[in-house]
Structure formats: structure tokens, C-alpha cells
């Protein structure tokens, strides 16, 4: 299915990542957003509040992030595509509803424009330190999908992807931006609506007696959806539930249900994961990065190559599910990997886990507030290449 032309601002624009993400959401079909102001993400909903009444959409500013993050879930069950946007402290407050969205298999998108933490931290300055929180921050076992744009163009493109994946797998999907990508202004090309692929919601066509809200379908292992007012009389609960959605708090149902919530993503990880690789073939060292850090790392890689080092790059566009298969295959072929990220060691744990000791893994951490000095990454490359 293609995008609804009503929401698509086809053409070349000069806009920042926050605005581009908003346009991506609209192009993907989002017609509801709830938000609570928080720097540096607020521009996304500011733009949405401006656009909404002109495209048949609704924006509501809620009383806090707890409210915003569940209002969107209510809206989804009301039959629309919905998203919310936040940063740091707000993201922490939203954790409960990430779990609820996972448990109730409610397709939705969260945009997190990462800033320095912990706590109030650095409201106006960048970090990439919510990368583990997005995966593990809500209690219990679960899998989600998280994407990391490194430019305003990708903020647009990947937000559409996020909506599409959320509908495909009935799972919350996260656009993990950072303050720099959110506030950097670049050219953003918005294609015409008929060039934008949009995943529709998979509403069931089954009759009322046979439809089960949580009966998995297809290799996505994902059930079909419905919305209120169709007469399906669905029951949606955050309690452990059976295929009908009825609470059933037994170890057997827990095993069946939670396992499926996890395997529907893990089993499809190779299809979901996107990475960008450059000169990895024959490289001694591969520099792994994502988001804004990938652009800084590029500078370090060029410097290293100028010194004659054989360096490849691997950019995580999908951070979660973690592209394990790629790292497992790559590790035995290289001397080492250098993982640069604006935190003190998060995704590098995944890289090390998948490298299984078959190559060196060096972390180039940074507490945030600004981007890396490329020299620091270069030093790590030289060290690992030695």
C-alpha cells in the first residue's frame, strides 16, 4: 500500500531531524500523536500540532509522559496509527507503557531524541545512552525493534520504516535519534506518496466467532488486529493472557505467550535488521557505530585509511533486534572491531557477545554532551590494527 497523499509534502526540503521525523510519521499514516514537552524532542510534536488539523489528524498535549505513552495506545485501539516523542527523563516514565504495548501487541512508534543523562543530565546536548534502556527498561522479557537514523533524511525514512515494522509485527518500534541528528538541518527529499510504501494495519476479516486477538498468523507469528466498534468485543489486558486475550496466569500460558512475543522478533531478526557496511570485505578493523557517531567515525576511518590501514565500517541502522548473524559471521574474519558510541559502553556489549572472543573488540566510549573527537576513534583503530 502507498502513503495517503494528504499527508505527504513531496519535494526537497531543508529541515532538521525532528521535523523530518514528524513528516515521516505523517507519511507513514500517523493520525494521532500525544506528547509532553521535553527538550530536545519537542519540535517533533510542535510540528505535528501545526500539521494535524490540516490533514485530519489529532494532537493532544497530555499531562505527563505516562499519559502520553498510553493515550497513543488507546488511539491505536481506536483504529488509528499513533506515536509519541520524548527524551531522557520522559523516556524513563514511558517504560511501563512500552511493556504494556509489547504485552498487548499494540503497534505504535516511540521517537526518543537522546540527550545526556542520567536524570535531568544534559537537556540540550546529545548522547546515545538509552540504547540498553530501550531494550531492557521495562520489566519482564520482551523484544522490540529500534532504528537509529544518522541524518534528517533518515529521520524521515526510518520513521516510516518504524511504523511499517510496528504494523507488521504488532510491536512498539523506536526511532532512536540523538540531539545532534534531531537538531541538524539538511536536505530532506520527500518522495511522492505513490513512491512511499506503507504497511497497512492488518485488520482481521475473520468472523466474530472464530477471531482470536492473540492467535499468531504466518511467519511473523503475529496476530491480526481489530479496533473498537466492530463488534468483536475484544479483551485487551496486560495480564498474561491466552489467544482470546483472557487472563490466564499459569506457567504454561506464560511460557507460550511470552515466548511468542520474543520469537516473533528473534526468528525474524534477519529480515528486520538493516546494517550499512562499507569496505568490510578484507578489512583488518571494522568500526561499528550508529546515529550521529557514524558520521564522526567516518572521519576517523578516512584518516586511518590514509595511513594505509584496512578499515571497514559497519553502521547499525537496526540496533534491536541486534544483527547477531552479521557480527558472528564477521568476527572470525577481522583482527578487531572498534565500537564508537556516545555512552560509556552499551551496544559494545552486544558486539562482544557476538564476537565470541574471535576478534578483539575495543570500545570508544563518551559520556555525551558533544560528539567524539575523531582522533580518539583513530587511536582505537590503530591500536586494534597493530
Amino acid at each position: 500500500m502507498h502513503a495517503d497523499p494528504v499527508g505527504v509534502l513531496t519535494g526537497a526540503h531543508f529541515m532538521d531531524g525532528d521535523h523530518a521525523a514528524c513528516e515521516g510519521a505523517i507519511a507513514a499514516g500517523a493520525r494521532f500523536a500525544a506528547g509532553y514537552p521535553i527538550t530536545p524532542s519537542t519540535e517533533v510534536v510542535e510540528r505535528f500540532s501545526n500539521r494535524a488539523p490540516r490533514i485530519g489528524a489529532t494532537f493532544i498535549q497530555m499531562e505527563d509522559e505516562l499519559a502520553a505513552s498510553i493515550a497513543i495506545l488507546g488511539a491505536v485501539w481506536g483504529g488509528v496509527k499513533a506515536f509519541t516523542v520524548t527524551s531522557g527523563p520522559g523516556f524513563s516514565l514511558m517504560m511501563e507503557h512500552i511493556g504494556y504495548a509489547v504485552m498487548t501487541e499494540t503497534p505504535c512508534v516511540f521517537i526518543d531524541v537522546q540527550r545526556g543523562g542520567p536524570s535531568t543530565g544534559l537537556p540540550t546536548l546529545p548522547a546515545q545512552a538509552d540504547m540498553m534502556q530501550v531494550k531492557w527498561g521495562s520489566h519482564g522479557d520482551y523484544e522490540i525493534i529500534a532504528l537509529c537514523p544518522n541524518s534528517p533524511q533518515e529521520c524521515f525514512d526510518l520513521t516510516i520504516q518504524a511504523f511499517n515494522l510496528s504494523e507488521k509485527y504488532r510491536v512498539p518500534v523506536f526511532v532512536m535519534m540523538d540531539e545532534v541528528v534531531g537538531h541538524m538541518t539538511e536536505k530532506v527529499v520527500i518522495p511522492s506518496a505513490d513512491k512511499i510504501e506503507v504497511e497497512p494495519r492488518h485488520f482481521t476479516t475473520k468472523d466474530k466467532s472464530s477471531f482470536q486477538l492473540y492467535a499468531p498468523v504466518g511467519e511473523e507469528q503475529t496476530p491480526e488486529m481489530t479496533k473498537v466498534g466492530e463488534g468483536y468485543n475484544v479483551h485487551v489486558t496486560g495480564l498474561t493472557h491466552d489467544e482470546r486475550g483472557y487472563p490466564n496466569m499459569t506457567p504454561a500460558v506464560q511460557e507460550r505467550m511470552v515466548k511468542r512475543l520474543v520469537t516473533k522478533i528473534r526468528d525474524n531478526a534477519e529480515k528486520i535488521c538493516i546494517v550499512e557496511q562499507n569496505q568490510v570485505e578484507g578489512a583488518d578493523v571494522v568500526v561499528v557505530s550508529y546515529g550521529i557517531t557514524s558520521r564522526v567515525a567516518q572521519r576517523a576511518v578516512e584518516m586511518a585509511r590514509a595511513e594505509g590501514l584496512k578499515v571497514g565500517t559497519l553502521r547499525l541502522i537496526t540496533a534491536w533486534p541486534f544483527p547477531e548473524h552479521i557480527f558472528r559471521a564477521l568476527a572470525p574474519k577481522v583482527k578487531g572491531m572498534v565500537v564508537a558510541e556516545l555512552n560509556l559502553g552499551q551496544m559494545v556489549r552486544e558486539v562482544s557477545r557476538c564476537a565470541e572472543g574471535k576478534c578483539r573488540v575495543a570500545a570508544v566510549g563518551h559520556a555525551g554532551g558533544t560528539v567524539h573527537n575523531p582522533q580518539d576513534i583513530l587511536k582505537a583503530i590503530q591500536e586494534v590494527a597493530r
Partner: protein, 295 residues
């Protein structure tokens, strides 16, 4: 013989509540004499009498004993997170404006952890109907002090009696902006059903408090007898005072319970107001959201 006992039969077809129940989930988990089931009877009668299109009705609960109502009624029903039934309902209502959205939850859920959401939804005059079963305690977790527990009541977390002042719910909700506010007890089944019907018919944020026994944890711990004693107590101490100033209807442990309809006023609801405002500001450029649009 005018008594039909149906020992094996799971349902009795004539009972209006029956068609509203997920009978495959009966019996419910509520204790003997718990008032929540009684409120469900009133709810179903109100739905029948108000001729609601039940396909256009959704019920949203939070967490707690009352939070389980959503799981037992055969309607589109959402059992959400603790305290967040109202913001969920807000999103649902905005996305599906033709749906009547009822929030059915307990006092702890709505007024402690969910208190912020409640006052803001009332402020916005969001068109949702809140039924608050007030058993004066946190029942699901074992009878701890709630923000509704009256003075000098023994709870699991106030073994020497409560001294933490309680909310007067109708007063709070009126001040926050609700257009319909009433209180009944589970003794007042007819009045409660009528009041619910009235609230469903009124656009805007409606609120009904139902004072309800929790014999297992509240009454027993306070030597106030069993559920039936509590119902008799409600009958004895309740005074119907329609239009009573809500500032004067606070509950005490054993004093008078003022019941009745306290507030019934006019104010544009959120969506109506939003449409009017945006129409005025944007003119022809305004494209109102028209409910579910999800390719």
C-alpha cells in the same frame, strides 16, 4: 412452582446481566458480598435502558479489584496499567469519537496513582464516563491505606489507624471541571442505574462514585461486620441530597453518607470545543479527524 433452580445451568437467559458477561470467565474472582458485582448489574441495566449501541461502547479499567470489570463484560474492553485507564480512554475517545468510552475502576487506581490523569481529563471535559467503585482501600493488594480511607480506620499499612487525610471525591472532581458528578452506594441499585443512564446521555466528563463494601479487607479489619451489615449500614446512614455542595459530602468512618446527584452543568466537551476552535482559526484549511483512518 414459581422457583426455578438451575443447579447445572451456567446461565439464566432472562437475566439482563447475562448477555453482558463473558460467561466463559464466570465465576468471577470477587469475594462473597463484594459490591463490585452489584455495580455491574446496575451498569448493565443502565446500558439496556439507555439503548446504547453496544458495538459503539468500550470499557477501560485500570488495576485492582474493580479493574477486573473490563475482563468480565462482553464488550470491547481494556484492562490497562495501574492508574492509566483515563489517558488510555482519552486516546481511544479521540481516535474513535463515535464510541462511548466508560472508565470503570477503583478509588486507589483513579485517585492515587491515576489522580493526575483524572483531574486533567475533567479539566478538558473529555467525553468519558467514569464509574469509580470506592471501597475506601487498596483491596487487590491486601487492604492498605488509600487516599480515600477515612480517618481512624485500621488498614494493612495503618495498624494504629489512619491519620492521613482523605480526598472528598465529588468535591475534587467538581473542582477539576466535571459536568456530571453523583454518588451512590451499592445499596442504591435503582438510583445508581438511573444515574449511570443519565451520565451516559450527557456529553462531557461524567463521574459517579459508588461507595461499596470490601468485606474481606476493610469491614472485617474494622469490626464493621460482613457485607450484609455494610449494606444495612449504607441504608441507615445514607441521606439523599441532590445538589448538595460537594464541599460538604466528605466521607467519615461511620457518619452520614450523602448521596445524590451533586453536579449537572453545561460546558463544551473537549472534542466539540476543539472542532469549533480549529474551525474558527483555520477556516477552510481545517480537516477534522474523522475517526479510524488506518489503511
Amino acid at each position: 412452582m414459581s422457583t426455578t433452580t438451575t443447579p447445572d445451568c451456567k446461565v439464566h437467559p432472562g437475566n439482563p446481566v447475562e448477555s453482558f458477561l463473558r460467561t466463559d470467565r464466570m465465576p468471577h474472582i470477587w469475594c462473597p458480598g463484594c459490591g463490585i458485582g452489584t455495580t455491574v448489574n446496575c451498569f448493565t441495566r443502565a446500558l439496556i435502558d439507555s439503548k446504547q449501541d453496544l458495538n459503539k461502547l468500550a470499557i477501560v479499567s485500570g488495576i485492582g479489584c474493580t479493574g477486573r470489570v473490563a475482563g468480565y463484560v462482553n464488550l470491547d474492553s481494556f484492562h490497562t496499567t495501574h492508574g492509566r485507564a483515563i489517558p488510555f480512554a482519552t486516546g481511544l475517545k479521540l481516535a474513535s469519537p463515535e464510541t462511548t468510552v466508560v472508565v470503570y475502576s477503583g478509588d486507589g487506581d483513579l485517585f492515587a496513582i491515576g489522580g493526575n490523569h483524572l483531574i486533567h481529563a475533567a479539566r478538558r471535559n473529555m467525553d468519558i464516563k467514569v464509574i469509580c467503585v470506592n471501597n475506601l482501600t487498596y483491596a487487590m493488594t491486601g487492604g492498605q491505606t488509600a487516599p480515600t480511607t477515612p480517618e481512624d480506620v485500621i488498614t494493612a499499612t495503618a495498624p494504629y489507624g489512619t491519620y492521613d487525610p482523605a480526598f472528598n471525591l465529588p468535591y475534587l472532581v467538581e473542582a477539576a471541571g466535571a459536568v456530571y458528578v453523583a454518588r451512590w452506594t451499592t445499596f442504591h441499585v435503582k438510583q445508581l442505574a438511573r444515574s449511570m443512564q443519565e451520565m451516559f446521555a450527557k456529553k462531557g466528563f461524567g463521574f459517579i462514585e459508588v461507595v461499596s463494601p470490601c468485606p474481606t479487607l476493610y469491614q472485617r479489619r474494622n469490626k464493621m461486620g460482613d457485607a450484609l451489615d455494610t449494606m444495612k449500614f449504607y441504608k441507615e446512614v445514607s441521606k439523599t441530597k441532590h445538589g448538595a455542595p460537594t464541599s460538604e459530602v466528605g466521607l467519615t468512618k461511620s457518619g452520614e453518607i450523602v448521596v445524590g446527584k451533586f453536579v449537572d452543568r453545561e460546558r463544551p466537551d473537549f472534542t466539540t470545543h476543539m472542532h469549533e476552535h480549529l474551525q474558527h482559526s483555520l477556516g477552510d484549511k481545517y480537516i477534522p479527524a474523522e475517526g479510524p483512518v488506518c489503511g
